[in-house]
Symmetry: C2
Subunit: 497 residues, 2 copies
């Protein structure tokens, strides 16, 4: 009897173990099946749709960067016109493309469509026309590594924006960050490699965790177009100004030393530097970077689907996905975490709003001084202060998420910009009195983008009309030619098991 | 044989268990012994040495607040002369006692000795003399709750500082925060209770964890002396200006509404508000408070000694005891944590240093305008801006540890002060030009405390000589009388077990 019980129990246990084993095998084969390559990726493949055949979860989540429904406290979802909500920026950028058109950041999937549409690149009807160099494509398209490989880097930087319209048709995607054979993270843009070299560092020594930020740092950085490289003067060579360090003062000193300016201000005649988006630089000055958290840890958190763990490629605000991002370390209520972020943003926004108005006033006061006959000598020190104050302000606002990534550093920069513009405006007041004008300078209506654009002499209706023609006639042609070229290179299907 | 082994093993195990039990009993009796009262605490007992007979660990650790060896990055250990290291403060406080003498914070144990020594309270040779009211003792001595109980609160606030010299001889101590019978945390200063009432709150509803901050908030707050209470006009009634909220703008609006000023500035003739030390207010705006961390959690961490867990009463910088304070939540390298704190302090110090110089210059520029005949009407708006800028600067620096407790809020305040003083100085520049003075106003040597004290007309050598006489002749008498009074009330020894 006793033996029978033992026998039956054993049989039952063995049966259950077999079911468990079968389940494990099934999941393992499921995993294998998921990563079974469907196509062979050859050379630089700019089309995400082809990578997506091998990596459907990553591809499908990446496609969601088209989604513009998430709204931050400032309502910065897809289509926000920043100049309309903060019109003083029109004055700050008078004489530069940003005074025409500047929108809130949108997902990677929009990169090509949005660069076509912005007034900043003009409306070039034929190749060779227009205000911008081909360098403007560098962070917009997976076609860029392909073009650099085909043409050579310097030759690529030496074209006009309009020369590459039929070539750059795929927005930011897989090929920008991944090696097609090993899927390892990889640096495809030479500017980052060169910036590391300039600092005496070797980017090949970066760890995988560092690479999870460095692939982003290919584009999410401060940069400028160097047109003075010996023997490469035709090129607008993409360069990161990191040689002396990444703090706002280091980069300011770098630009001062090489006497670089992006534009001469239309009102104050100041040689200005436009900050781009020093996201990587400012992120490094915050506590998350100090604790070893990478960009991807928050912006591309791990996720599980159908038994598969994968990196969610819907890059965007972690606030849209707190449970998968913040919660890994912070066990707090969702609403508390959101409030913490918005508090930081609100406190810094207060300072940046104040200082941008003060800088706008300084430009207008300087214009008045020039109108009254101020000399170059009288203006020089004032213009240098305006240049520095606006550079610092811009460094603090142009970076996506600076107010969260390194709130105190950002606030410190704002304080310093406020102190510098103070000195400029006191000197301006004194200079104006010397020139016989001892009263406040009349200011335009700071609440209307259109009024300010007219004030600085822009003809926006004309530019918009040209853009409509460009979108109607040029863009369909660019895309048609690009697609026809790609049709010559179909995906290589791998034979199934 | 088998049974013998079982028997011997059992005997051994029982023997070991008995030893363990004995050890546990011993520790329990040790614990009992520690908390066996030696003396009966009756009424308000100002002498820590008597409380210490019952609570030796707390007492002994509290006595270590005499220790001044810890130095922060700014070298702010016990004896630092802040006016010597930041002389522009002399200008900011011209017309007020702080321009004479201002030292870095020291431990609680020094409260009485240091208030005797400071030039701010003058050198009153007889009762009734001197510049300060008795209210100045309120946060310095455990004798204050006793005096309030004996005299009545309003009567206590209606004396001169010199009237209470023989009464207030025990520095901040046990009786300030503890109920002598239950040892529960308790509020002994009416100002905090009244401030809660003014906000429509009941402090009796505070939780124990809240009390671990609120006992500190009896003193570590912004306050002023209200001399306008109906029927109590003789009193300098200690009041916390919290009715509209604790943010710097709330308190500024409060003071503006009641047209309060601590002093009229000797140079700019501005009605000024001196910020005290809004530690509790600013701490509440930081992440530690938001996560429920109390003052005591970091400044009085739990510790174990001889099997006893107790609260370490050596109140001071948590940086001197990171292992017991920060480590409870933050598992980082000690040096990383220290660097994090110093980074925050350095970034804010940069802004406060800049703005304090700008405010000092504004005072001097305003004095020049007055000298040249500026009218009250011309000065009013400018003075209001100087008042607000300096108030905000002061709120950000006067708080012990604001740069760590709420770095971003502190930096926000600094930015706002910088923006306000900018407007004041631009208006001043324009006003000076109107008065025929269109050039920078000559500035004194901002690097010398002595030069600046002479510049604002202080006779410090004379005040120091008076202080020497006061310390020689008055203080020994005050202490002698006080001790004699206390000798009448010996400790009540409780009969031993």
């Amino acid at each position: 009897m006793k033996n029978w019980i033992l026998f039956i129990s054993t049989a039952v246990i063995v049966f259950l173990l077999a079911i468990l084993a079968a389940n494990i095998f099934e999941r393992r084969s499921e995993a294998k099946y998921s990563y079974q390559p469907k196509v062979k990726l050859e050379g630089i493949e700019p089309r995400d749709s082809i990578w997506g055949l091998n990596y459907p979860r990553q591809y499908q989540s990446y496609r969601k960067t088209q989604d513009t429904t998430f709204k931050s406290m400032f309502g910065t979802s897809g289509h926000k016109d920043v100049l309309a909500s903060e019109p003083d920026l029109v004055i700050l950028w008078a004489g530069y493309g940003f005074s025409k058109d500047y929108n809130a950041p949108k997902g990677h999937a929009w990169a090509i469509e949005d660069i076509h549409k912005t007034l900043r690149v003009g409306s070039p009807m034929v190749p060779g026309e227009g205000p911008q160099p081909s360098t403007c494509w560098t962070c917009k398209s997976t076609d860029v590594p392909r073009l650099m490989s085909e043409m050579g880097v310097t030759e690529y930087y030496s074209q006009k924006f309009s020369d590459m319209g039929t070539q750059a048709i795929n927005p930011i995607g897989c090929a920008d960050c991944h090696n097609p054979e090993t899927m390892q993270l990889t640096i495809t843009r030479p500017a980052l490699i060169e910036a590391f070299e300039a600092m005496g560092k070797d980017i090949n020594k970066a760890s995988h965790q560092e690479m999870r930020s460095l692939v982003c740092a290919q584009c999410h950085v401060e940069y400028y177009f160097d047109k003075t490289r010996p023997g490469q003067e035709k090129a607008a060579y993409l360069t990161f100004p990191w040689k002396n360090g990444m703090e706002v003062e280091n980069v300011e000193a770098y630009y001062d030393k090489i006497e670089f300016s992006d534009f001469t201000h239309a009102l104050s005649k100041t040689p200005m530097v436009k900050a781009q988006h020093p996201d990587y630089e400012i992120y490094q000055m915050g506590v998350h970077a100090k604790r070893g958290v990478s960009c991807a840890d928050c912006h591309m958190p791990f996720q599980t689907e159908g038994g598969q763990k994968f990196t969610n490629h819907q890059i965007g605000s972690p606030l849209a996905n707190i449970e998968n991002s913040c919660f890994v370390c912070h066990r707090e209520k969702v609403q508390d975490l959101i409030t913490d972020v918005y508090d930081r943003q609100r406190k810094i926004k207060e300072g940046t709003n104040a200082v941008q108005r003060q800088i706008a006033m300084a430009h207008i006061e300087a214009a008045k001084a020039l109108e009254l006959g101020a000399t170059e000598v009288q203006m020089k020190g004032i213009q240098q202060k305006i240049r520095h104050a606006q550079w610092r302000w811009d460094y603090s606002v142009a970076s996506h998420g600076a107010a969260f990534h390194a709130p105190l550093e950002t606030s410190r920069i704002v304080s310093s910009a406020t102190a510098i513009i103070q000195e400029a405006r006191i000197e301006l007041t004194r200079l104006l009195a010397t020139l016989g004008y001892n009263q406040p300078v009349p200011m335009p209506d700071f609440t209307s983008k259109e009024a300010l654009q007219a004030y600085i002499g822009l003809d926006i209706p004309k530019e918009k009309a040209a853009k409509v023609t460009f979108m109607d006639q040029v863009i369909p042609q660019w895309l048609k030619e690009g697609k026809a070229r790609e049709a010559q290179k179909p995906a290589k299907i791998v034979s199934s098991r």
